[in-house]
Assembly symmetry: C2
Amino acid sequence: MNDPSHTIVLKDPLSLDGGGELTRVELAYETYGELNEHRTNAILLCHALTGDQHVASPHPITGKPGWWERTVGPGKPIDTDRFHVICANVIGSCMGSTGPASEALDGKPYAMRFPVITIRDMVRAHVGLLDALGIGTLHAVVGGSMGGMQALSLAANWPERADRVLVIASTSRHSAQNIAFHELGRQAVMADPRWNQGDYYGGEAPDSGLSVARMAAHITYLSEEALTRKFGRNLQDRDAKTFGFDADFQVESYLRYQGSGFTQRFDANSYLYITRAMDYFDLAEEHGGRLANAFSGTQARFCLVSFDSDWLYPTSESRHVVHALNAAGAPVSFVELSAPHGHDSFLLDVPALDRVIGGFLG
Amino acid sequence: MNDPSHTIVLKDPLSLDGGGELTRVELAYETYGELNEHRTNAILLCHALTGDQHVASPHPITGKPGWWERTVGPGKPIDTDRFHVICANVIGSCMGSTGPASEALDGKPYAMRFPVITIRDMVRAHVGLLDALGIGTLHAVVGGSMGGMQALSLAANWPERADRVLVIASTSRHSAQNIAFHELGRQAVMADPRWNQGDYYGGEAPDSGLSVARMAAHITYLSEEALTRKFGRNLQDRDAKTFGFDADFQVESYLRYQGSGFTQRFDANSYLYITRAMDYFDLAEEHGGRLANAFSGTQARFCLVSFDSDWLYPTSESRHVVHALNAAGAPVSFVELSAPHGHDSFLLDVPALDRVIGGFLG
């Protein structure tokens, strides 16, 4: 296999929803499969909050398989024998695309001088990449969780750029509870003295705070049932409670592991900026307060998928989008899949999801 | 009204579930209403994680009304014209009962030398108080949330001490998700360098970490619906998003306020110890792995109340207790009340709860 990794610097500065522009925007992206002669077989994959462009290649820091290896590849539901798959690290992130850890024009990291960005800004950068690659209309844009927000944003704001829009375990707006969990995570990062108002590059990073933020988020990614099934009240490598503050329970050990592992691969400031972008996301608000307006110009076909155990972006949120698409007269199919894992189901072994993806992409 | 505040030092050392004993146990408690001649009209109220003995008297630090003023008083559902109400600060807490901030025998605060305690240890101290007060059998033991765990523990372990057991919005065991949220809170406290392995008395307390822990807990106390109804995506004192990291949204502002307010009245080490006690709580495990065994010796009448919007201790947990009581042949009534507030409903204005309490206490 050819090396899927590429980088590009966008030709033009990127206008931002918050005003101003971001200059010298670099995007790190991966591609899989060949682009056909007429450039009509491209699929843009959009990654989630802490995801990245390493869809089906090993993560350069952790060495773990790509986050959607089970879905993307030859003969897989997103078949790279037929499609040219593109996935770019979102701006604001930390895996090669321009973000708070990147050098500003003065040669120092942006840190908190990085502008607050939106989901639409991320997608604007993706569109810049498509322009640079000479791809007019995508066969499909596909995303789960925050990736689904990007897919919806592309469909709403650049309706001519995708023939198919596949949105998995996502939402058209962040709820008060969604914002609350993100704010909790941001406060955990900012409470860490090593955060130092964001100026920690070259020194010690606020790993303790970021680890706590990740633990909080991780709880929301799993269903209560999944936690009970996976851990219950089982003890970790011991026969009895220790009457201390070690990780007696497996679920404690698991969360600590998730938290500390995350800090090795993710930048705390990126976590602040991307959660902020998600909290700001409200597609209806961007379109006069009526979600159906967002889709008035679309010619695309849509597919929405939710999971019955997802309490982060529950089925009701997908249904809300479907109703708006119906009101806009857009063709849409919608399925709630039964899976025990909660929000993380979109990343896990759910054969029914594979069939939906394969079927929708045609 | 007479001053309801009292303190007592228990005559005997307190044996602990973790082994060893706690000496010179002081309990701060409040009483309301007169004890009758035959000492048969006493009701023991058990408070929740961050509650205290100030049931119907102003909190000495915040000046706010007692946490159950709406329920406890003359002519109220727990009628102090008829009942003698007792509420003691649990051991491990920080409002006058012996806890990590208390002086150990060497004259210095226990800090993390305080023993890890259990819900049963808390109740053992309550029973010591009842002994000292000459109260044999309570008219009722009543508690919500962690208070309900204490009520169940009293019924299971000292079955002769209460004629009625009223358990509101509670559980017989902490689930993996419950443990996960508590572990998150503990890690937030311990991540604060000011925590200093618990040795912060006389210096700066780990307020940042405790504030984050409180924010996490607070999210679990409210339903998604309550957060949406109360805050939605409303902005805080501004017309537009600031594209910054201030509390743009009302829900952010609210959580920050809850977090910082909490640190003024609560000790971080107490938060660690009490959450640990709750996580360790599994009444079935204490009784051979079968919950019905816990109630085999009971002659009491039980009443269980849950709230349909409570996702911390959902109705299924109350039903689990009811099934065990049925199996043990104990008389039990059970009601799921409809209230939009989530777990916090037991503290809020729910008239149906008032009627259930009044009716059950007779």
